[in-house]
């Protein structure tokens, strides 16, 4: 059935809201932004055709208020809602409420979300679709005794995981039976706190696995494409830090086998729209189903660059009821793309979030650089949300060229006022193991446990001293130039204030 979409409400914020707005603009669709009190001056608001306030900064009072968002959609005459990632994107009740209100939810149907969004149900679906998966329980554990029994069957080490989880919450690795009871209680209570459900399951721990995922796009006419893989093995505390496509260890045959398995799973659950099936891959190229993400993912740009497709536009066309415009054999991968998630956090202080005012921003550009950025100089990164500032993506002919291109771009990038993890990326991209693609999900923790290499000084000490002296003096004492109509430097203002202190 063909449906018309003319106006899209974006139920999200930051870079992903802007990303969706851009796709809508390119398709000639009107856009409706929503924002919390903390986000009135956010970039996604600035780029939208219409904007409505949701309420206080706290997500539970703004971006998670599905009822308010649906009201705004109805009142503004939006035909469809794009949920982005996070917030309401995997909320089956919200998808259902949209359908009931006659608004198109740009994502999978609630029924498919229910089957594939729950990790335990998804594992049962994976078994039914004959997907290889990590040995372990397919249902939530009911007691420590059951956990001990299952662990004994599959053998240690094992991993406890929250059924409703994600992002590493409610996860515990256990290497011996005597540690299992305590870990079970801890994982379950953490899951309860984080997701409102203490359901925990158990699976065998795969040693040094790589995290490789398949991007899917399914239409409602039974068509489903796999759009290659992404490798996201560089993680810290189960949070992805760098993603790339293709994976250095996935050849044609493995890609086809993983892709076909992912498609089988999606079709078995009646899946429609964009989704990602995550796998662990061991050193012998065995792949194990991990979970399915029933939404557009943060790292979708790397797939867009190597396939040449626009996933958000495809999502919208699928939501309009159109069949996919290409066949599997027309999906071609070309070149290599790497994404760095630039966060406001302090790598020298245990990656503590570092929100605050961005005083200066010099953004990279040039060949093969794409930046999906949600911030600007003068923007205050709010405390209330994920402190991701930007996704920097480098695309080049080969992996090595993409790495060097990314290093060049990171060198151009300067963010002032807040701490960021840009230095961490420079370290990873120069690391011999990363460059040789010797990575697994424990790679980054091992790298960080070692001492940081001392970067060779390329700037003479005298130059540093002179630059510091000049920046201090020019910033504080320079009279505004005649053609400088901008307000006086904030440094000058701060300096004067400083001088007025008792």
């Amino acid at each position: 059935m063909r449906r018309t979409i003319q106006k899209v409400l974006i139920a999200n914020r930051g870079e992903i809201a802007l990303r969706v707005i851009r796709a809508c603009r390119e398709m000639g669709l009107r856009t409706v932004a929503v924002y919390s009190d903390a986000d009135r001056a956010a970039l996604h608001v600035l780029h939208a055709d219409e904007a409505y306030c949701l309420g206080p900064a706290l997500a539970s009072e703004s971006y998670l208020r599905g009822d308010l968002i649906l009201d705004i959609a109805l009142q503004s005459g939006a035909d469809a809602i794009h949920p982005g990632y996070g917030f309401l994107s995997e909320n089956a009740e919200f998808a259902e409420a949209c359908a009931a209100a006659g608004i198109i939810f740009i994502g999978p149907p609630a029924s498919a979300m229910r089957v594939l969004g729950s990790k335990t149900k998804a594992r049962q679906a994976a078994d039914a679709a004959a997907m290889p998966r990590v040995p372990g329980s397919v249902t939530g554990l009911t007691s420590t005794q059951e956990a001990l029994r299952v662990a004994a069957e599959i053998g240690y080490p094992v991993m406890l995981k929250a059924a409703a989880g994600g992002g590493g919450k409610g996860m515990r690795a256990v290497s011996a039976p005597e540690d299992l009871a305590a870990a079970y209680v801890a994982a379950s209570s953490e899951a309860e706190r984080s997701f409102g459900s203490g359901e925990v399951y158990l699976e065998k721990l795969i040693e040094r696995p790589r995290h490789i995922e398949i991007q899917l796009m399914a239409d409602e006419h039974g068509g489903c494409l796999y759009l290659g893989e992404r490798e996201c093995s560089v993680q810290r505390r189960h949070q992805k830090v760098i993603e790339e496509a293709p994976s250095a260890v996935v050849g044609e045959d493995l890609r086809r086998r993983m892709g076909e398995a992912a498609v089988r799973l999606a079709l078995s659950a009646g899946y429609v729209n964009a989704g990602t099936v995550e796998f662990l891959v061991d050193s012998a190229e065995n792949f194990y189903f991990l979970e399915m993400n029933t939404r557009l993912q943060v790292e979708h740009p790397v797939t867009e660059l190597v396939t040449g497709l626009d996933l958000v536009q495809m999502q919208i066309r699928v939501a309009m009821g159109e069949p996919l415009a290409m066949k599997q054999e027309q999906v071609r991968l070309r070149g290599h793309a790497i994404e760095c998630r630039i966060y406001a956090e302090d790598p020298d202080n245990n990656f503590f979030p570092s929100p605050g005012l961005i005083t200066r921003l010099v953004r990279p550009g040039g060949p093969g650089i794409r930046e999906d950025c949600g911030v600007y100089a003068g923007w205050t990164v709010p405390l209330e949300y994920d402190p991701m500032l930007s996704k920097l993506v480098a695309f080049a002919q080969t992996r090595e060229m993409a790495i060097d291109r990314m290093l060049r771009a990171l060198g151009e990038y300067a963010i002032g006022g807040i701490k960021t993890n840009i230095g961490l990326f420079r370290r990873i991209l120069q690391d011999a193991d990363f460059r040789a693609a010797r990575i697994d999900t424990g790679y980054l923790e091992r790298l960080l446990a070692g001492a940081a290499p001392v970067e060779e000084a390329t700037v003479p000490e005298d130059v540093v001293a002179l630059a510091a002296a000049l920046l201090t003096s020019l910033g504080t004492e320079r009279p505004p130039a005649a053609n400088d109509s901008a307000p006086a430097s904030k440094w000058a203002a701060a300096g004067r204030q400083e001088e007025l202190r008792p």
Binding site: R360, G411, A468, L470, T476, A494, P502
Partner: protein, 163 residues
């Protein structure tokens, strides 16, 4: 104008032309003459050219990013903007005037018992052939003069205490 800095833990002294403006200028870094051409593109973003070599410099609080590398620095001169540590300490209690870098005392402008005003010069030290007048951080009474003319002092040495 003299700027006293601590760059990556190392004390530096930079002499800039008295009125610093964008463009070509001669500067002295720890006694060494450097012909520089500085251009402030935006507040805190500067292109610095020295002997044809161009450095992109971005000021970020207490550090400067040059060609993508970060260098922490601190301005030690109590008169300047970033002498915040002393500026923020409050007026109560005794305060010391310390030597910002190694040098020799060339003049002592006060004696114990003197009432001094804030920012009144109390001592002059010479380092790298330049004389620098050190000023009282607060108004009060001089309770200690720890050095005499001709004394050699190290960085951080207490010279005078005002209460």
């Amino acid at each position: 104008m003299t700027v006293w800095l601590e760059v990556e833990g190392k004390k530096r002294r930079v002499e800039l032309p008295s009125s610093v403006l964008d463009g070509a200028m001669e500067c002295i870094v720890d006694g060494k003459l450097i012909a520089a051409n500085a251009r402030m593109l935006q507040p805190g973003i500067m292109s610095l050219v020295i002997e044809g070599r161009q450095y992109r410099c971005v000021l970020d609080g207490d550090s400067v990013l040059i060609d993508g590398r970060r260098f922490a620095f601190e301005v030690n001169d109590p008169r300047s903007l970033q002498g915040r540590r002393s500026a923020g300490r409050g007026a109560a209690g005794p305060r010391a005037v310390k030597a910002p870098m190694p040098g020799r005392v060339v003049r002592v402008l006060t004696v114990v018992g003197d009432e001094v005003a804030e920012q009144q010069g109390v001592i002059v030290i010479e380092a790298m052939k330049m004389q620098n007048e050190l000023k009282s951080p607060k108004a009060g009474k001089v309770v200690r003069v720890a050095v005499a003319v001709g004394d050699t002092v190290g960085a951080g040495d207490v010279l005078v205490v005002v209460e």
